[in-house]
Symmetry: C2
């Protein structure tokens, strides 16, 4: 499909000491170059344009750089502005895409490609630069092919705050370690989440739940974890890679394979989260900060399985009956009852495995609104509207439910220091030694005293005291004991936050400023060298600036087939978090430390606000620096 660009090679941009006359003429010829933003804003975009403009005008002052307005629509409709030094200078080092705006249109139909071609022809363009995400770079590759015969070069620039464009060559060497905008967005989120860490440990009453942008990959959550040392961070990729070995062994014993053993269930995830919450409470910290990637539900295999199973169930029903499923069962309760019937059938009929008791069980765990969502009528492609689901509500709903159960079981308690216990008792005229063994499960050796599980109310407290002969029937509980009891009962309060739009509108960090300006210079070099269908990139981003290597990466070979809206489509594969990467391994190894379910202060890190040229601010993303160490986990 891309005959003229699929054989492109990685192209190093190198200076030529003594260029031939021909080379010099080619480099310095007057050109018309169009640039366009595509997709959501990312900090540094203006500097890409500044780099292109500076290099182009330096090579030939007659070169025109045209900025297409409002994204790809501007290319299709021939809406542009001629960029001048004044315009470019006004936006250098500034965030957003305000200079020429952006848009979401894809140039993906015959008609739109033909309009784009016409625009290039009308404007006499020599090159078109598309600054966008994976889809936009895919688009750039197809356009490069389409416009090849017109002599229009197309160059892509990898932009996305999500950080999911990362490229290695076949030998595994990193070509593009990170898209631009990622560092700034992560730093902006980290600044705000770090402020929440300060708030949490000052006010000691809230768990702050922070959802951060990133649907397909958890890079931003990972970087935020490294920047802030928040108490709990979910990494979607880890959840989908989880394997329940116990379940596998059980199945193996019967000679079967249990596919449900792969991937973490929502129920299991809520247990993991609650475990962290309960352990912190046990050392008196009934508060904290948790980071959730926006797209975490897409990593839960169980949900993907539900979607497939429910689609099949509904399709089967519609085939067998005159009335369609959604008409036959209009209320949620009716739909659930039908599912329960299927689960009963699976118990009686071994050959029926589409909806078993475990499915029914896990499904009924889900919050009502999410059950409704999963059982809603689908669009024509059968897609589930993930974007409408409030991820945090699904997960925190389960967490709330399980925590309530743990509280009822007496397993979720606030730990009290021995010192506090003894002082309170003495002040109330009660003997701590007498009541200690009655009240606490670990009175002998605990640093933080935990009330016995069976004491969950003033009533059970009375019963336990009577049982231990610390109270006589009809006597009232000493007020000091009551006070201690009250302190041991946690209330779970959350504040939910979403970090996305304000971070992507931030002014770029020094790293993103420099990176993007050099991407712009690289783009011009690629154009001057006659490249097309290439994506501009910088190698060695993780090292000193002197070692940075501008290159062109062939886009064609990056593509693979993927289902999009029910059709197989050629797209650039998104990079997800690699579980063997140094950055993930560090987060994994330090997870227990950052949870800080131990006496003493939390382990929060305070990155501080983004500040251009502040020597204290670290000079590049922490994940970038760590991943450069290689993919072998560092020794602890």
């Amino acid at each position: 499909k891309l005959p003229d660009i699929i054989h492109n090679k990685v192209q190093a941009v190198v200076g030529v000491e003594c260029p031939s006359e021909e080379e010099a003429a080619e480099h310095g010829k007057a050109r018309a170059i169009g640039v366009v933003f595509s997709g959501g804003p990312a900090p540094g975009g203006h500097n890409v344009i500044a780099g292109i403009y500076d290099a182009a005008v330096k090579a030939n002052p007659d070169t025109k750089v045209l900025g297409f307005l409002m994204g790809p629509d501007g290319v299709i409709e021939n809406e542009y502005t001629v960029l001048t030094k004044e315009i470019v200078d006004n936006y250098r080092n500034l965030g957003g895409f305000g200079m020429i705006k952006t848009g979401r249109t894809k140039i993906d139909s015959v008609k739109k490609v033909s309009s784009a071609r016409q625009t290039c022809k009308d404007l006499g363009l020599d090159a078109l630069v598309i600054i966008g995400g994976d889809d936009s770079n895919t688009n750039a590759a197809f356009l490069a092919q389409e416009l090849k015969d017109d002599g229009v070069q197309v160059i892509g620039v990898p932009k996305t705050i999500d950080g999911d464009i990362q490229v290695r060559d076949k030998s595994g060497n990193v070509l593009c370690a990170m898209s631009f905008g990622f560092h700034t967005a992560a730093r902006a989120f980290a600044t705000e989440i770090s402020n929440l860490c300060t708030d949490a440990s000052s006010d000691v009453k809230y768990w702050h739940i922070c959802k951060v942008m990133g649907r397909v990959a958890s890079h931003l959550a990972l970087e935020v974890a490294l920047q802030t040392h928040a108490n709990l961070t979910l990494i979607g990729e880890e959840l989908s890679e989880y394997v329940d070995y116990e379940r596998i062994q059980k199945a193996e014993a019967t000679g079967q394979t249990d596919y449900t053993a792969y991937g973490m269930t929502l129920r299991h995830l809520s247990r993991v989260i609650c475990n962290g919450i309960v352990r912190r409470a046990a050392v008196g910290k009934n508060y904290g900060v948790m980071v959730i990637p926006e797209g975490v539900l897409e990593f839960i295999n169980e949900i993907q399985t539900f979607i497939i199973k429910l689609n099949t169930i509904i399709a089967d029903f519609n085939e067998m009956h005159d009335r369609p499923f959604h008409l036959e069962f209009q209320r949620l309760e009716e739909k659930l009852e039908y599912l329960r019937r299927l689960a009963r059938r699976s118990r009686e009929d071994d050959s029926f495995t589409l909806w078993n008791t475990r499915d029914d069980d896990l499904f009924s765990d889900l919050p009502i609104f999410f059950q409704e969502g999963l059982l809603m009528e689908r669009d024509s492609h059968g897609n589930f509207p993930f974007s409408q689901v409030e991820t945090d509500k699904v997960i925190m709903g389960l967490v709330q439910d399980y925590l309530a159960w743990l509280r009822d079981q007496g397993k979720y308690k606030v730990g009290l220091t021995r010192d506090y216990y003894e002082k309170t008792m003495k002040k109330g005229g009660a003997d701590p030694q007498l009541y200690g063994p009655v009240l606490f499960r670990n009175y002998q050796d605990g640093e933080f005293l935990l009330m016995k599980e069976e004491i969950m109310s003033l009533k059970t407290l009375t019963q336990e005291m009577i049982r231990c002969n610390a109270l006589k029937e009809g006597e009232s509980i000493p007020s000091a004991v009551q006070a201690i009891y009250k302190k041991s009962i946690p209330s779970f309060k959350t504040q939910v936050h979403f970090y996305g739009y304000d971070g992507r509108g931030s002014d770029p960090t020094w790293f993103d400023c420099t990176y993007t300006y050099n991407l712009g210079l690289t783009v011009f070099s690629l154009i001057a060298a006659g490249a097309t269908g290439q994506m501009a990139a910088i190698r060695n981003l993780e090292r000193d600036f002197e070692t940075w290597e501008p290159i062109g990466i062939p886009i064609g070979p990056l593509m693979h087939l993927e289902e999009r809206k029910g059709k197989l489509t050629l797209v650039i594969e998104k990079s997800t978090v690699q579980l063997n990467s140094a950055s993930f391994q560090v987060v994994k190894n330090l997870r227990e430390k950052w949870l800080a379910a131990h006496p003493g202060p939390d382990e929060f890190r305070r990155p501080g606000p983004i500040s251009m040229g502040d020597p204290r601010s670290e000079d590049r993303p922490i994940t970038l620096a760590l991943n450069a160490l290689g993919s072998t986990p560092p020794e602890e």
Copy 2:
């Protein structure tokens, strides 16, 4: 109630050039001083303690400063830590209250006061410093009275990011212009909201709705407006002061007074907001940024009236019937039907005015969930749970409804430039001159072309074209005309944000650092001078540092009676935004400019992140600087 402190005078803190031996001994005697945080964290709190510590230890190295832990509970329970230079140094200039944490307990019962007294006695305290909001300073005054005979001085320090502690003397001179933490919180919110301004004008698809903390006063929203020049900012105080003169005149004509003319209704407010949205869309800007104070609903008289009326209606019903209201009418629809019956009765019976047609009308305007909330069973005090209501949802629900109506009426359209129209038509082979007068209501003279109101669908477009002889029955609409039609149809997309917790956890600005450290020094001077029941403050905050004047403000006279939880209570009056203040007048006068419903770019201001010692960052809150100009509105 406060015999020993009510006659306190404003107390200037002045140096004594040649102190007498007695004075020097008093100043330099060894003391034990307790400090405690009360209420939500505010940036700068640590510096208050640092100032107290430095001054106290300088006066006498043997003086002990004790930090009570977890807020007033620490005072009641005698939980404290002895502050050392190392501890204090660890927290200088840092945000939050992490050094000793905070809490919400009020020392307001006989029992709690007696525990607090005991703590002071046990520790041999000379003075207790309460760093908190209006309620905590009220508390400080009562404690000062209670502990007077024990020889324990109590000093308050005005803390609240909401900025609603402001004090003038009887002649109107400013004594305390602003509580600490306000500047930092406002700057933090402004940084993030300014990023949203950048995002909005890059991505051109969202209205960002930003709710900012501040329940009782809109100071933070006002400062954020001045910092960011967001397109629309609601100021609660303005809404409650609104007067509908037309309504008054109408009533006067019949010799009556129409009390419903005072205060803006929610319906009216939604019209005002929609008007701004529609006017921006008309110049092609179907996006923007809007700031809403968290407590805006508390300023809507209509809602206060609903609460009172509904309480009366329900009480009347319960008195007249055997079954209580909430049992008789369980579903919302039944309750609404009862209200409709009352409205009918009011039409037939002039003497029945409790629930009239207008009430019923305005009430049915409200979003369902808010109707339900207002008709819920109240707690024992009859209080409406405002804190559970999502302010933005109530207001944006009405805005969505009214915008949908405006769209149906053809009044909400995206304006197109003449240039864009003509080019699109020509490219599509259609004559712009021919179709212009058919499509647009202002084709003769509009800078931005607005589609006729009656054209709201492809069907009405066809009808209008046929009516104007631009299309024959059965012909299809030229594709260029269709494209133009599509561009003129707006979709209203919002993203909602809440700014609060992360801002109050920020590190303090230079202003808050300096202000709070000097508050700490002032506190010690007041203690050394024997004061009690005073609140530390700095005069001339708005002027150069050299002119700052440390003072003590008597807390007693600041108090007034207020209903709290159904009881009249003595509390410090909260300061709301004064509509004749320079800061409000500036926002009011520049409102039209900042709405930017005109061609050309928006008027956003970019404050940038908080940066200690950055000479570019303004040195104090803008409201503070403006209000120092006096309360006469400046000339335009």
